[in-house]
Symmetry: C2
Subunit: 313 residues, 2 copies
Amino acid sequence: MTLVQLEYIIAVDTYRSFVAAAEHCYVTQPTLSMQVQKLEESIGAKIFDRSRQPVVPTEIGEKIIKQARIILNESKKIAELLQESKGEVSGELKIGVIPTVAPYLLPDILTTFLRRYPKLQLQIWEYTTERIIQELKLGKLDCGILSTPLHESGIEETPLYYETFVAYVSEASSLYQKKMVTTDEIADKKLWLLNEGHCMRGQVLNLCHYKHNQSLEGTFEYNTGSVETLKRMVDINGGLTVLPEMSILSYDEDQLGQVRYFRSPEPVREISIVTTPNFVRKQAVNALKNEIIALVPDRFKTKKKKEVMGFEL
Amino acid sequence: MTLVQLEYIIAVDTYRSFVAAAEHCYVTQPTLSMQVQKLEESIGAKIFDRSRQPVVPTEIGEKIIKQARIILNESKKIAELLQESKGEVSGELKIGVIPTVAPYLLPDILTTFLRRYPKLQLQIWEYTTERIIQELKLGKLDCGILSTPLHESGIEETPLYYETFVAYVSEASSLYQKKMVTTDEIADKKLWLLNEGHCMRGQVLNLCHYKHNQSLEGTFEYNTGSVETLKRMVDINGGLTVLPEMSILSYDEDQLGQVRYFRSPEPVREISIVTTPNFVRKQAVNALKNEIIALVPDRFKTKKKKEVMGFEL
DNA sequence: CCTTTGCATAGCTAAAATTTATAGCATGAC
DNA sequence: GTCATGCTATAAATTTTAGCTATGCAAAGG
């Protein structure tokens, strides 16, 4: 068994074709076919069922390919270790960010960060928490920025900042008259919510003491994945919603007039940068972490950890 | 970079000698030297400092070798996957067991287990919890049998049975007159304890409400790693100790006469079999698990999980 | 100063990976 | 039915590489 053979079977699995796989490996098709055969011979099992078109992995082949991806992933880390030791913050950094954080955090960060580390190539995906964890474990992402604690083994969390939630109320709402609101006061109101899969949905439901999916019918009408949409729904259709504090930083006075902070104990979410435990490019992630911490206003760092909300996915 | 090259650098690291490493890899020294050089050239960094005798890895070399061990470890799993898929329970199974469990569980298990799976080669080490976790993560052990919960990320626990602790008192002790004892009653007595590093020490200290290392001087005199020694100390020097229930299964009537169960809530420890999350030889471990569960008396399986004691290492 | 020990280098050989060319085998078009 | 077409396997030739033997060279020990 060689690393090259493992690369080849991964390519065949990816492209479901020996010809296409060979092209992408920059070798000829017979070369690739031979190596795959040799590997199959050496382990004593067929990895691909070539009688079907397109070729598909066998049952055991699936498992072997999965393991092969792990092996090659670990192999790549040797090169990363070397970059790391040179103090170079370079190469690709693949980041997953939840949609309730991304638009308020990344635009500010990116320009300064990329100017400071010109050799770094960022790739960013907006994914839900669940997907970020999944892709981290598969090695498809290098790090994630999301709300913690996750209580997920195999994921290391480094808190970046703490962010309160605020209510955003329409002028017609009875709460508009109040200076501050309590979590109880919003529990029975018409509340615009993110759709399922967003950790913030769970947090908001928690803070107003709802159980998931319970008595939502009739009370809530429209689900979206975007915090901006929530705000607009309030603007146009009335009612209220809950926003992360960072989303209101760019609001003008009119908009801020509709924002109501919560009375103590304020609901707070913890935003962390997460990696897998044996991730080696700590310098690059550290650089990103420091950039974020430097840019986030100070009051986002002083919230007490004890106030942080739990949530379920 | 090839898997063979990684094997070679691991061998050089292990034996701190190119000559010895070559022998153990069944190649000549020039062959091995050349491959190490080629690897160093391809990654653009020296892995070993050959100017010292014996050769030592460079700083970056240390990291590369560590990663190389991970890669080869993951590579081995492909062969294991295949055995696994054939339904064969075979090969080596390296098990770590804590010393307060091993002598009461393993002797009974081993003969029947090995008769059922003749192709399996068991290697067993008596290690402390800490060491078992460490070696599991390094891939030097396949599984561990120890007291849980560990609250350790990267370790998966599967409970096997629940075992109460019992007091073992000398005839001279005031507690000898009682039919049952409470945890409070033993707190101020002369208590023979295991030495540090054993999880059971922590559990026993917990159950009699001691903080670690606090006010032990004078009260306790002798530390040992063996439960049998604790019992003998009581037999010969008086006082009392706490034993795991399984250790008294083989006691005769005289000895049982010195055993006192605890009043409810009984202190219970959970014994689990643990592996790393991406361990692939689940069938072999499962076979061992089933063998143990089948052999352990039923009452060890009915304890409620809620009663299980926590502990620190 | 000579021997021993240990790694590196050089030249050679055998094995293995890769290439080009071609065969075989389905599948769908006509 | 037969003829392309698209895919993978096989064969033979070639290049690359891993490994071997022999030897060199430097450092440590007697």
